[in-house]
């Protein structure tokens, strides 16, 4: 087979395309990826057709099969389409291939022991940091972090940890967008102050913040590194702002730092075993 892949080929009636793939799988995944970009209410059939450049009748046939397997679900009331349970399961399967995610669960559960603290582990995505695992606090104050939702770079401890250790080119576009949306990093912090804040995070290996993202909360976050010393995760502790729990020099900060370096060590071990 020396023919080159062709992504512009025919209409999908033909099941097997020139380079021995199954074209309907590729078309179906393009439909799913389009639905993934929709807002909270999902997407109507006609909008999916428009966005994919496919005829509505054809899109519908693909949606029937995507719904059959649970990758997409149709909302009962609106009839709009959105990602389904199988998308979550596929994503979790992909996460388990990543050592830092696989290994973070016991570590964040160990951190949960202190009452009133919520723990979150975040990875970096092109939309900014996203919490992928959490341990709830079960305290009086509901501090439930949302898994999967991108959080700001500039004014969260998790975001600042990533900004401190990632190449500037990766965080700069998101920080610029946050400034444009009147969400500067911290109250009236200028660029110079933010740069020196990041420097101090690198010195201490820890970001500490109150009024973090949501008023009334304080947070600590520490970086986790892979075997190439690149940041792959930030682990964060959250507590109500009025509790003394999260001093950057207190016992909880030490626990967080120890947990983050334990995870970094574990990732290096796994890379060594590989």
């Amino acid at each position: 087979m020396t023919r080159k892949p062709s992504h512009t080929a025919d209409t999908g009636n033909e099941r097997v395309n020139a380079v021995q793939g199954v074209q309907s799988v590729e078309i179906g995944m393009r439909v799913a990826a389009t639905v993934a970009l929709s807002g909270p209410g999902g997407m109507a059939l006609n909008d999916i057709a428009k966005a994919t450049g496919m005829a509505a009748g054809k899109v519908h046939r693909y949606l029937v099969s995507l719904c059959q397997e649970g990758l997409i679900e149709q909302r009962d009331r609106s009839g709009r389409y959105d990602l389904g349970w199988a998308a979550i399961r596929l994503g979790l399967g992909a996460q388990l291939a990543l050592p830092h995610i696989r290994e973070c669960e016991p570590i964040i559960h160990d951190l949960q022991v202190e009452g009133g603290l919520a723990i979150a582990a975040a990875i970096w995505t092109d939309k900014g940091p996203v919490i992928i695992r959490k341990a709830e606090s079960y305290g009086q104050l509901m501090m439930d972090t949302r898994i999967g939702v991108p959080i700001p770079v500039g004014n969260t401890s998790i975001g600042r940890v990533f900004a401190a250790y990632l190449p500037t080119a990766m965080s700069a576009p998101l920080l610029a967008a946050e400034r444009r949306n009147n969400m500067p990093p911290g109250d009236s912090m200028d660029r110079g102050q933010f740069t020196s804040l990041l420097k101090s995070i690198r010195e201490h290996g820890l970001a500490s913040q109150s009024g973090d993202f949501l008023a009334g909360l304080q947070a600590l976050a520490a970086p986790v590194f892979d075997e190439r010393d690149e940041i792959v995760m930030a682990i964060s502790m959250l507590a109500p702002a009025n509790s003394p729990a999260l001093s950057p020099h207190g016992p909880n900060a030490r626990k967080l730092l120890a947990a983050a370096s334990r995870l970094s060590r574990r990732i290096r071990e796994i890379a060594g075993e590989g």
């Binding site: 309907s24 990602l83 994503g91 696989r102 305290g139």
Partner: protein, 296 residues
């Protein structure tokens, strides 16, 4: 390296991806529309469905031998390879550079994160509660853990003349309710212990019914063994109840769903029809909330 081979991880066979929880079961149990669809099938794209099923097979672990994988799927290896080619082009699957194996890739990760952001656990619970209520005809509830113990946050609609059970928002006993016992069995001990000890020490509480810490620990162990809590005389004497855990992403306890009945119906036996329906509903909701290992 295979995920299942990792020493820090449970054995692969314990890391369960239940074949019984197929897409069809989950879809059908969930929405009437899908059930209807299964009865009068609309035209879909069969090969896309096969491709998605193959991708789902990679959830528990990567596949190192394509021929072995093909045997498991009962498909010719060449055909499986063609699906893999397209799954890789879509970014759903990638080759592991260390092992040469096929594993879920970046697009799967992105789709998962996008789906997680859209996930509303209580809305997912509502759909399950309604279905469970429809199938059992008895009141159904979902509870979460709070600083004051379990609190019912959702109930199925009921049109019976007499409403029984606990009102939404009322704290429920940890020691003396099937709901509370499931929380006691699956939440970290230091989260539940203070409330359990307080209830056991309360002279008006369960200790009046000869329940001490040891007897309660035995009850909790039994709940863990059964994966479900049964109780007669739950809160109010004469009521039968059972409750099951719902797990979430990371396999921690998310909530508890429960059913109650006013009279001895014979349906509340541990191996009875209601227990099976409750178990199935709990599994389906757990899958929908992103539980992996806890689902069995």
């Amino acid at each position: 390296m295979l995920i299942g081979q990792h020493p820090g991880r449970r054995q692969q066979d314990e890391f369960l991806y239940s074949r019984q929880i197929s897409a069809g079961t989950i879809g059908k149990t969930l929405t009437g529309t899908l059930t209807d669809r299964a009865e009068s099938p609309q035209q879909g794209v069969k090969s896309l469905e096969i491709g998605l099923q193959i991708a789902m097979e990679l959830v528990p672990a990567e596949v190192t031998s394509l021929s072995e994988f093909a045997r498991r799927l009962d498909m010719p290896p060449s055909k499986v390879y063609r699906y893999m080619v397209s799954l890789m082009r879509s970014g759903i699957v990638e080759r592991n550079p260390d092992t040469g194996g096929y594993r879920l890739g970046k697009v799967a990760l992105q789709l998962g994160i996008a789906a997680q952001a859209k996930l509303d656990p209580l809305r997912a619970a509502d759909a399950i509660l309604d279905e469970l209520h429809l199938q059992t005809g008895v009141p159904v509830a979902a509870s979460i853990w709070t600083a004051n113990g379990p609190v019912i946050v959702r109930r199925s609609e009921s049109n019976s003349a007499l409403l029984i059970g606990t009102r939404v928002g009322t704290p429920v006993s940890v020691v003396n309710s099937s709901i509370g016992r499931v929380f006691a069995a699956y939440l970290p001990e230091d989260v539940v212990a203070p409330l359990i000890n307080a209830e056991l020490a309360d002279p008006a509480g369960p200790s009046a019914r000869q329940l001490d810490a040891e007897a309660f620990a035995a009850i909790v162990a039994e709940v863990r063994a059964n994966g479900i809590a049964f109780q007669r005389g739950d809160l109010i004497s004469g009521i039968e109840a059972m409750a099951a855990p719902i797990f979430q992403i990371g396999d921690g306890l998310a909530m508890v769903i429960s059913i109650v009945s006013l009279q001895r119906s014979g349906n509340f036996e541990p191996d009875g029809a209601f227990a099976r329906l409750l178990r199935d509903s709990a599994q389906i909701l757990s899958v929908r909330l992103g539980a992996l290992e806890a689902v069995r």
